[in-house]
Subunit: 541 residues, 2 copies
């Protein structure tokens, strides 16, 4: 359907499922065994006959490129055969919901070696209840094809439950006699995660395309913001463009937070009037073929003078965050540590808040107290891929052999001694530093896609409950100055950065800074000419 959407002046390649499977296998250091991963199921809401939204399991998708429910994928390490198992087609249901792919269609669409149907009843059985049945039915098929590997598991009733379940542990390596849930499943999951960290050209193009559509949708909001008066109307315009461009699925719940709501980081109600609020944070990005984009823009809400800052304070905070983002982006180069970039963001934000007079006192003491966290309470960024918060590089499970990333290079490099005293920028102990070897897993590598999203917020709940009520923190905050800045609400600017061989490419195309203001002004001008104000009033509830 939307294949044409990922075309970039050439033929569209299939999603490289086979290459992914091989890369994962390379990471397993196993010569025998079968990888088995289940697709997500289409199930009704509890106590209802309506289907709950379907979201494909990302591990399954990585090995197939298939977004259909109820499938399985198997990859045999020994023979290098990637098989997609499709739900049998239930003719009596076709009139209601259509059908999934036939084997022939699957072979044409997906980068697999073979397609097969699952036994007829597996397609309608809930997965957990039906596990035994599925396996019993599958047993003949599996025995016939891989007599040495899977049979042992099937014969072992205790392990049947694990094979096709859909919990976080369900990525199971079914590998001959030595197979066991814990170790093998963790090892396989980690092997896939390690591959997922480095995006190939196909994946990059999907994220590029998601960013392209998100940019269009953000632009549409900029053009219309002058005549909108409620967060819901802005979200409506954003979603209109995404849906029209076949990107209904969002990588996360869109955030349209005006005024104080800008300072609630995962605000999703999106239902309040702009009234006299100064700014709106729009954090919204669509998915394309299960790949995410993640885009944040902060706009002035200045109805009387669209495309201009509503206050000096708003402009100052926006410019501070923009400066931090720009400096961090410049640091997104291969070989650099993301910790260094995050440190830079912290230092610059703190310096900016001191300069504006919101923070006061000695810089080293403020840093030590962590008072800046009252205004920048989240991390600088995260990987983006099949998840909007995609898997980061992680130390290997204790019992694993050395593992390489998707590009065949080892991940871990020793953390430079100067970076070991991480607590001086007050982050919690990071999960991607190996606590024993102090190796740093945040080294930037070509093919990584990571957001850069600094922010400054004025959240009265956070400040009152954790900072202003604590003398050790309060001493570093100038409450008179703070009062002037509270109405700004919050500012965040976020782009998706692809690390390239030579540096980086910013995949996010939505206008920001002066270009954004110009876009709002142009929209307001066009709106005036087209009498768009009138249309808006007509459309109000």
């Amino acid at each position: 359907m939307v294949l044409r959407m990922i075309a970039r002046g050439g033929n569209i390649d299939k999603y490289p499922a086979k290459a992914h499977a091989r890369r994962v296998a390379q990471n397993l250091h196993e010569s025998k065994g079968i990888i088995v991963v289940s697709a997500a199921q289409l199930v009704p809401w509890p106590n209802s006959d309506m289907p709950a939204p379907f979201r494909q399991d990302r591990y399954f998708y990585y090995l197939t490129g298939c977004n259909e429910p109820g499938c399985r994928v198997t990859y045999e390490l020994e023979t290098d055969i990637l098989t997609l198992w499709l739900p049998a087609i239930d003719k009596s249901r076709v009139i209601w919901t259509g059908r999934g792919s036939t084997v022939e269609e699957a072979l044409a669409k997906y980068d697999i070696d073979e397609g097969r149907y699952l036994p007829a009843h597996t397609s309608t059985l809930p997965l957990q209840e039906g596990t035994d049945v599925i396996l019993s039915s599958l047993k003949g098929e599996l025995e016939q094809n891989w007599p040495h590997s899977v049979f042992h598991i099937i014969a072992n009733a205790a392990k049947l439950d694990l094979l096709f379940s859909s919990t976080p542990d369900d990525v199971v390596l079914a590998s001959g006699i030595r197979s066991s849930k814990g170790t093998k499943a963790r090892q396989l999951q980690w092997a896939i995660d390690s591959c997922r960290v480095i995006k190939d050209e196909h994946e990059i193009n999907l994220i590029r395309q998601a960013n392209r559509i998100s940019a269009r949708a953000h632009e549409a909001v900029l053009k219309h913001i002058h005549h909108l008066s409620n967060e819901a109307e802005a979200e409506a315009e954003y979603m209109r463009v995404c849906i029209a461009h076949h990107a209904k699925e969002q990588a996360y719940n869109p955030i349209f937070g005006s005024g104080v709501n800008a300072a609630e980081l995962h605000y999703v109600n999106n239902d309040q009037d702009f009234s006299h609020r100064q700014m709106i944070v729009i954090d919204a990005g669509c998915e394309v073929h299960c790949y995410a984009s993640d885009v944040t823009r902060t706009l002035p809400l200045n109805r009387s003078n669209p495309g201009h800052w509503p206050s000096k304070e708003a402009e100052q905070i926006y410019n501070l965050v923009a400066k931090v983002q720009e400096a961090c982006i410049a640091q997104m180069i291969p070989g650099n540590s993301f910790y260094r970039v995050a440190w830079l963001a912290t230092e610059m934000t703190m310096a900016g808040l001191l300069e504006l007079g919101i923070l006061k006192g000695d810089k080293d003491e403020v840093r030590k107290a962590g008072t800046w966290r009252g205004f920048f309470p989240h991390g600088l960024g995260h990987h983006v891929g099949l998840e909007v918060h995609d898997v980061p590089p992680r130390p290997p499970p204790k019992d694993s052999k050395d593992i390489v990333a998707g590009d065949g290079q080892p991940f871990q490099e020793p953390l430079p001694p100067t970076w070991r005293a991480l607590d001086w920028y007050n982050t919690p102990q990071p999960h991607n530093i190996d606590p024993e070897t102090m190796k740093d897993y945040t080294i930037l590598r070509p093919g990584m896609i990571i957001t850069i999203e600094p922010g400054v917020y004025f959240n009265s709940f956070l400040l009152e409950n954790f900072f202003l009520n604590d003398p050790a923190q309060r001493q570093f905050i100038d409450q008179d100055v703070l009062k002037r800045f509270m109405p700004v609400g919050g500012v965040r600017i976020e782009d998706d950065m692809l690390i390239t061989k030579d540096g980086h490419e910013n995949l996010t195309l939505a206008p920001k800074g002066e270009a954004m203001l110009e876009c709002i002004r142009r929209g307001a001008e066009e709106g005036r000419r087209a009498g768009r104000d009138q249309v808006s009033r007509e459309a109000r509830p």
Copy 2:
């Protein structure tokens, strides 16, 4: 937030949770015991850190009017006390996701007797894993307040699992010593279902409001259809209006099926070009405060002559379906049996198909063979309420006492003898006829809201696999005539009918028939004047 949206020239009443609880209690014929129902939880997608969409449990909502996750409600039969249990507020999460209601806010918002906080850790624990913990923590509270009733259950480990689980069986009546999962849970669920069948004024107003917004959204599509060229663009326009009117939640996945897709009843891909297709079926309705609307309109896609039928065949099928709908609507009066209305729809559709020459042969033989089901393969309608397919009246569980509906009247009336031979209109054995007493539970009563949605489809898969390949059916189908009608795809028209004391009220306001055509023509005319064609081309991917 959206309270103002349900205002109808007066103060807004709270959702009548207490009245619902009392009505349910009346149906239980128990003097002691506590009804306990859990809200839905906010949980991440499997293998992901992103929250899955939240949908409130409808039984919980019926007893609270509260759309917040992680709550519980208890209603003590003896003392008539309705208590809402709120998740404890985790201050460290407020900066991320805000917080749920405080007890004070809950008392102001909801029609409850008291609000209490659940123990702190229950709010973040997944429900199934945390059940024991929740109950242990709750035990003190419960013992203190209801020493006679719940303690027995808490002391019985085998039943702990049942109390707050979220499976279809989780509606549990915790009633003193005699409590047991099976019987009591079924009895309570049935008692609530029986109440839900008859809507009170508050519920009717919510469904009215949902229909009002859906109508606006359908109208917007009508006005723009002349310059749209893909199903996704039509859905985008529909969703824009719903979201802007604070009705982002849809009662079901919107269906925008053009041409052949119109004949796939639950088609949801909504991604194909109109090309030269004749018609589009739009089946889309939003929710307001968890209450559904369900609206279907079928539009001509006639770019060269907007608002006119693209073919004689399209017009004939539309007019047939419209005539059937009109006649059925006229039959929606208190005391009538919905079976009679469904029978009428079948008879009229069959007669129409015979008249058009698509069906041929003797009417009685065609009826007996059920050949009309190749063109009208679904039921005539269903209840609408907290679910789009809301609970219908059902025979009571075997071990229950007599039960009354929300209006205090008994449901069951004996099925008239003439209606007992149901198979003559070829429906499957209905689930709301008591097989032993042959009592008819489909008698229409004031306060019921039921869709009337006849349709005629030309689904080649259905016809080829179940009718044209079967000589017993094929003999009644004129394939030459059929060929002319295949490009029509399908037509369905659906309204939500409220049964009133004197007859009915059509809650669905979206234009249909001539008013719909006129709306398309007006939109095309306005579009021409505003140069909207140009805007559309600009917006294409």
